[in-house]
Subunit: 262 residues, 2 copies
Amino acid sequence: MKEKLIIIKIGSHILDDASLMEECLDNFSKIKEKKILILGGGDYATRLSDKMEVSVQKVEGRRITTKETLEVVTMAYAGKINKSIVTALQALGCNGIGLTGADGNCIQCHKREVTEVDYGFAGDIDNINTELIESFLNLNLTPVFCAITHDQKGQLLNTNADTIASEIATAFSKHYRVELKYLSKQKGVLKDMDDKDSVILNINEQKFKKLKEENTITGGMLPKIETALKSVLNGVYKISIGDSSILSDSKGSYTTIKSIGK
Amino acid sequence: MKEKLIIIKIGSHILDDASLMEECLDNFSKIKEKKILILGGGDYATRLSDKMEVSVQKVEGRRITTKETLEVVTMAYAGKINKSIVTALQALGCNGIGLTGADGNCIQCHKREVTEVDYGFAGDIDNINTELIESFLNLNLTPVFCAITHDQKGQLLNTNADTIASEIATAFSKHYRVELKYLSKQKGVLKDMDDKDSVILNINEQKFKKLKEENTITGGMLPKIETALKSVLNGVYKISIGDSSILSDSKGSYTTIKSIGK
């Protein structure tokens, strides 16, 4: 049987909540299997942009990365957020190493082509350097990725952290039994946002289509689930969405993304 | 004979000059031996502090690191500067990996004790994780350190980049023939600041005392040379100060720091 690899994605809702974050890192550090952490942090970047008087533009929830925005997100994601989390993990006995896609050329991207929208310095992933990342895992290091990548031609790029998580998960699924967990403030994807216990336990392509049509799933959750369904189809063993309890307990109620094709 | 290890420290004077920086990185990337790059960047951090309305306080050229300053320097050093240099090196075919002392617990420090001056979140070095850094070198990675460290208890700290350079050099000198090169805009330490060719070729303890008394060497150059003399005494093979030509040519005129004790 393939060795297990646990990949966890944490976004702004948790990063901005000190006590939730503490709980998550504590649970994360106790995972005994090889593990990788992926950090978002868009809300912090937005606050930093305001402070630095850099205007924030978004199209369908995706940030337009101007030259000034790239500087802000590099400072926020690769600097402040990444290093705070790495040092917090170190204090918990978890040997974290903070990485962008540029470090060791771990994630190679190209600048997104301009079509109807010019996303600026947004990077779409060409290659995950699984060989080097695996060397880090074998050194008992826990890679902590942020949403900054590069094009190997000297240009840093801004890449969605959910996408990084699913691409790393897919790339590793050839040799590992990969479980990808998207951490959320809620117990999972909710049927009714006002009822925190209305967790949708399973989502596949058919159900997703229905939930989308009914407007039960909207906004940023749409691309997240679309990407997740693709990843499961491409070999990722299990993808789940839930609160920090999914880091320690696999029996609770949370959302599992499954593909009909699997 | 011990294997060579080249350690280069680059500070603000070069980091802030795009064409000089390009020349330096080009020369650096061509070094065939194992190599480590250490980056300063205090001037950029000062400009960022101004932009973010964080006041900058210094005592004898050393920054007082308040909580707000720590956030600024973490963003500047670990984020913006480090990642820009790493991606530039990648474009030159040099497999850089950007690191703080927290990443992989590479540099463990303690918060400087408060005596006459409270330096705030300034870190003094306790340990260099040569084993892990050597693993990176053996993976053909080029570590690129910035001036951020940690205490392994969850606190990031600000540590002088010259000190990081000399401590890494000293730690590695047990198993490597370490050459530490401090890059400067000038050809070396100058006797007369108005004469760019008045390079002082050799400095030892006696000469340093004399140059200090005569006020030929002042300001930030004083702790740099004091630290260098200590490092040579503690096993570093060669320490030099000069412009980017010292990266490719060892025959030019530049300043060499030698200890009488060696």
